[in-house]
């Protein structure tokens, strides 16, 4: 793997999928993968298949719902959308993440001897 790409941190994919659905509205799996790819600007290396396991997990928690719809090129596809419960959860997760990222950032930016 190249130096410029980093692997998706475990547990963060769910957060990204949830946020994507929150801001973009209903999407199918392919669309979610494209959107994350686009936002990551090729920094993240994503096994796109894992998006589907993430979708399954989120669905079991009741944070997203799915419905059948028709895609842009007239194919039957499953569209996922965030639920009310999911929106609440997204808030919680986001706070968690910001707190965590803040801590990591502070630890990494401290001045040291070495």
């Amino acid at each position: 793997m190249g130096d410029k790409k980093s692997e998706v941190l475990q547990g963060t994919l769910d957060l990204m999928v949830l946020k994507t659905l929150n801001s973009m509205g209903p999407l199918h799996g392919f669309g979610i993968a494209r959107r994350i790819e686009q936002l990551s600007e090729d920094v993240l290396q994503l096994n796109e298949g894992t998006v589907y396991t993430s979708l399954l997990r989120l669905q079991q928690q009741g944070w997203i719902a799915s419905a059948w719809g028709t895609s842009e090129n007239n194919r039957k596809a499953r569209y996922y959308s965030i639920t009310r419960l999911g929106k609440k959860q997204l808030e919680v997760e986001r706070e968690n993440w910001e707190r965590f990222a803040g801590v990591v950032g502070r630890v990494l930016s401290q001045e040291g001897q070495g």
Partner: protein
């Protein structure tokens, strides 16, 4: 919040469980579509179609793994992967047929013997008696003196007591009673006598038990009035079907039973065998007919004759406790009214089961002991299976390493191995069910035919559940340890170094398991050897009569209502016929055989000794005819046998046994002495002394006994034959019918067959424990063989080095043997220590052998040593042939 979330996931998985196939397809479609879209995107970016497809797959990741993860995450336990585990497990087991068959056989034997014992426990203690409606409402009522304890103090009820409880107890909607011993009745069918079993029952028996009739009607209390007995019978359904050809007009017809006409009023419902489980009488007749049926006047009014077994049906809302309280109050009332017979007599209630309440303790103790013994056999089988599996799992270390390198988690590997061991144990469980049904039938055949017992041993759900639970637990017990050990591996180490994993830790565990197995085996073997030797001892106990060339048959001329003269004439005529048969040496009659269940006792006094010596000696009495001692092979120590003339003239002469002579007249000649027997007015003269035999049980101390004439109408014919008495049995039965077509002999058998009754307990115990010991020995041998073989193959390299350094073949043999004997030695010390502690429990079953018999210790030690050396021999031979060069190069 967290709980709610768990609930949501749970319900989602529950739904998924039922919509599996469709969901799988949808998911697969979704993935395929995604791949397709990706490919198209790459194509539009200018890639060739093939490169685009590859790139898409690369970017998408491992689709197969994803699909599996999806299945596992979506629902609980993926059936598909379980199925794959099973399939793979079956293949692995087929690949090692030797150890697979070994484990299955060992486990099937272990589980099977337990299931067999449980079949008996189920039939005797757990299963409610068949035929009764709502048997859980029934309670048995027993009398027993308040201050007494022990099983012998529980008594059936007398008729007056039964009638009192039946009429006064409010806790019961009804109490039924029946005669505990079905009577043997002679059925005179168109001039031909046949023996039937009839049971006396109370008039309310059918209604209280809730048993219906197939035709006709059941008894009512009006049919059972002591003041007005009526000869009525209800027939057992299968008797009516088989012996009366399902006669549709049987109601209103009559049967000639013991010389009296009985009207058939009903046929019981099909499948109802009787009020007691083990007994299946051919017909039932009211209790009030007891005097006519068995010629025992006064049975209904006697307050001393305890003969009725009783079951009451509790009124709704009553408990055993409240009913018990009421019965105790009623018992006090009886005590006040009849101080002479009912003093301190209490009533005890038991829940209702096939084995009568007071005897359940015995049955429980006996079957419990067997369960423990065969449980130990199962432990051996388990350790065997575990050590075989562990050996295999070590051999499979490479496979496990590769699988875990390919991404299988440790849980996945443990599951695979557990599935394999459960598969083994379930196959063993199925085999065990077969085994149990076979062996329990074999065991039933051990019950002597003279005991009127017929036990049904159904393989019902309780037995099946028990067996499969045992199999399941067994599978987990023997499977989990090897699975945990076998999967704790570092794949890199194993694959890279290709070393034999295992090492010190693992071999120490194997050794510990083997030591445990040897210890348990030594314990079982010790008990088994004791019992088998005791059985041999019991076989060699001299009962005081010939046990080879005698045929016996029971006759009851009184049951036909003949006069005394006619009875005597019948027996004279029969004796003449029997003596005329070819191959007959002599014949005689006795009222009952020694060691049978009947007994007559009295006391004797020698007035001339009054005041000086112990007088009023209790003695067992046998009534015999001239020729009895010669026929039975009882040696005369002095004096002479009875003479025919003395029988005809009714002279008061008796023969005593050595024990009685020694008791009354030590050091004197007893011939000619005069003694009073019981409270007879006339004294009897001793004309002979015979050798003391065994009269009640084979283990007894010498019992004083006397022999006199004056026979009752019921007699046992004894015939001494020159050759095998078995060939004469048919002739004896035929002669009886020739002399009087209305008579039928019962229990026509050889003396050897008869002896199975007194030998029953010792034989059964000896056989079962012997089987368990042998089983344990064979299993241990297999186990030792497997473990030693494996350790030899593991030490091939070491042995090669030793041989290269100059060790001889003898040294290698010694090395292997030492390892085996070390394990056996420690196991033996532990096992025999435990056995000596446990053997005291067996002492009551042992004949002429001490529970700490040193010879038995020697036998067990020697036996185990030989078995160990045998188990070591083949692997040691293999080790000796190791070629050092090849062994070293292989590593």
């Amino acid at each position: 919040m967290r709980a709610m979330r768990g609930l949501r996931v749970f319900s989602a998985r529950m739904q998924a469980l039922f919509a599996q196939r469709r969901a799988d397809r949808v998911f697969d479609d979704e993935l395929q579509q995604h791949l397709q879209l990706l490919t198209e995107r790459f194509v539009s970016q200018g890639m060739s179609r093939k490169d685009a497809a590859d790139a898409a797959r690369r970017q998408f990741g491992n689709a197969a793994l994803l699909q599996q993860r999806q299945r596992e995450a979506r629902t609980f336990l993926s059936l598909t992967s379980l199925w794959r585990d099973l399939w793979f497990g079956a293949r692995m087991l087929r690949k090692h047929p030797g150890s697979t068959v070994g484990v299955i056989v060992a486990l099937a034997l272990g589980i099977g013997m337990n299931a067999c014992v449980f079949t008996f426990v189920n039939a005797l203690l757990l299963r409610p008696p068949t035929g009764y409606k709502a048997p859980n409402e029934m309670r048995e009522v027993w009398e027993h003196p308040r201050n007494a304890s022990g099983i012998g103090s529980f008594m059936p009820l007398t008729y007056p007591d039964y009638a009192f409880f039946r009429d006064h107890a409010r806790s019961f909607s009804g109490i039924l009673a029946y005669d505990g011993d079905p009577e043997e009745i002679i059925w005179n069918r168109s001039g031909h006598g046949q023996v039937l079993h009839g049971q006396l029952v109370s008039g309310n028996a059918f209604s209280v038990a809730g048993v219906g009739v197939a035709m006709g009607r059941a008894f009512t209390p009006a049919d059972d009035q002591p003041t007005h007995p009526q000869p009525l019978v209800i027939l057992r359904h299968s008797f009516w079907k088989q012996r009366l050809g399902s006669d549709p007009d049987i109601i209103g017809k009559s049967l000639m039973l013991n010389g009296m006409k009985y009207d058939v009023i009903g046929v019981a419902q099909p499948g109802f065998t009787g009020f007691e489980v083990a007994m299946a009488p051919d017909f039932w007749t009211p209790l009030s007919m007891v005097e006519q049926l068995v010629h025992d006047p006064g049975r209904l009014t006697s307050r001393n004759s305890n003969w009725l077994l009783t079951d009451g049906r509790l009124v709704a809302g009553q408990t055993t406790k409240s009913a018990q309280a009421e019965m105790s109050v009623l018992a006090r009332e009886l005590e006040l009214a009849h101080a002479d017979t009912n003093k301190d007599m209490g009533e005890t209630l038991f829940t209702f089961a096939p084995v009568p309440g007071p005897f359940r303790g015995y049955v429980t103790a006996f079957t419990g002991m067997l369960m423990v013994v065969f449980g130990l056999v199962l432990v051996i089988a388990c350790t065997n299976a575990a050590s075989l599996l562990m050996v295999k799992s070590t051999g499979r270390a490479r496979e496990m390493a590769i699988r875990s390198a390919l991404g299988a988690g440790r849980g996945r590997l443990i599951r695979q191995m557990t599935v394999e061991s459960l598969l083994l144990s379930l196959v063993a469980g199925c085999t065990a069910v077969l085994l149990a049904s076979l062996t329990s039938q074999l065991l039933l055949n051990l019950i002597p035919s003279s005991l009127p017992i017929s036990i049904e041993l159904p393989l019902d759900w309780r037995v099946l559940v028990f067996t499969f639970l045992v199999a399941l637990v067994t599978g987990i017990v023997f499977g989990v340890t090897p699975a945990l050990r076998g999967t704790r591996i570092d794949p890199v180490q194993v694959i890279k170094a290709e070393t034999h994993s295992g090492g010190y830790q693992k071999s120490r565990l194997r050794t510990a398991i083997m030591i445990g197995e040897v210890a348990v085996c030594a314990l079982l073997l010790f008990s088994a050897t004791l019992c088998v030797r005791s059985l041999l001892n019991a076989g060699s106990i001299d009962p005081g009569f010939d046990t080879q060339n005698i045929a016996v048959a029971t006759l009851d001329a009184g049951s036909l209502g003949y006069s005394d003269v006619k009875v005597e004439a019948f027996y004279r005529e029969l004796a003449t016929h029997i003596r005329a048969l070819p191959g007959v040496f002599s014949s005689s009659y006795v009222n009952h055989l020694p060691l049978d269940t009947s007994r007559e006792q009295t006391s004797v006094t020698d007035e001339s000794l009054a005041g000086t010596k112990p007088n009023g000696v209790p003695v067992d009495v046998f009534r015999v005819e001239p020729g009895y001692f010669k026929t039975m092979g009882v040696p005369l120590l002095g004096g002479r046998d009875f003479a025919q003339g003395e029988l005809d003239r009714k002279v008061n002469v008796i023969v005593v046994n050595g024990a009685l002579a020694l008791r009354l007249w030590p050091g004197q000649n007893p011939i000619g002495k005069l003694i009073t027997v019981g409270d007879a007015k006339v004294r009897s003269q001793v004309i002979g002394v015979v050798k003391t035999g065994k009269y009640r049980s084979l283990g007894e101390e010498p019992i004083p006994a006397l022999f006199r004439m004056e026979m009752p109408p019921r007699r046992v014919l004894v015939v001494h034959t020159f050759a095998d008495p078995g060939s004469l049995l048919d002739a004896v039965q035929r002669e009886v019918q020739i002399v009087d077509p209305n008579m039928a002999a019962t229990e026509v058998q050889t003396i050897g067959k008869f002896m199975s009754l007194p030998m029953f307990a010792a034989r059964t115990t000896g056989l079962l424990l012997g089987a368990s010991g042998l089983l344990a020995l064979v299993l241990t041998w297999i186990g030792l063989f497997g473990v030693i073989s494996f350790s030899v193959s593991e030490r091939t390299c070491e042995i090669g080095v030793r041989m290269a350094m100059g060790a001889g073949r003898g040294d290698v043999m010694k090395l292997i043997m030492r390892q085996g004997l070390f394990v056996t030695g420690i196991g033996l010390v532990i096992g025999i220590g435990a056995a000596l502690a446990a053997a005291r429990l067996l002492s009551s079953l042992l004949y002429g052998i001490r529970p700490d018999d040193p010879a038995t210790v020697v036998v067990v030690v020697a036996g185990m040593t030989v078995v160990t050396m045998l188990a070591c021999y083949i692997p040691a031979r293999r080790a000796m042939r190791v070629n050092p060069v090849i062994a070293l190069r292989y590593e």
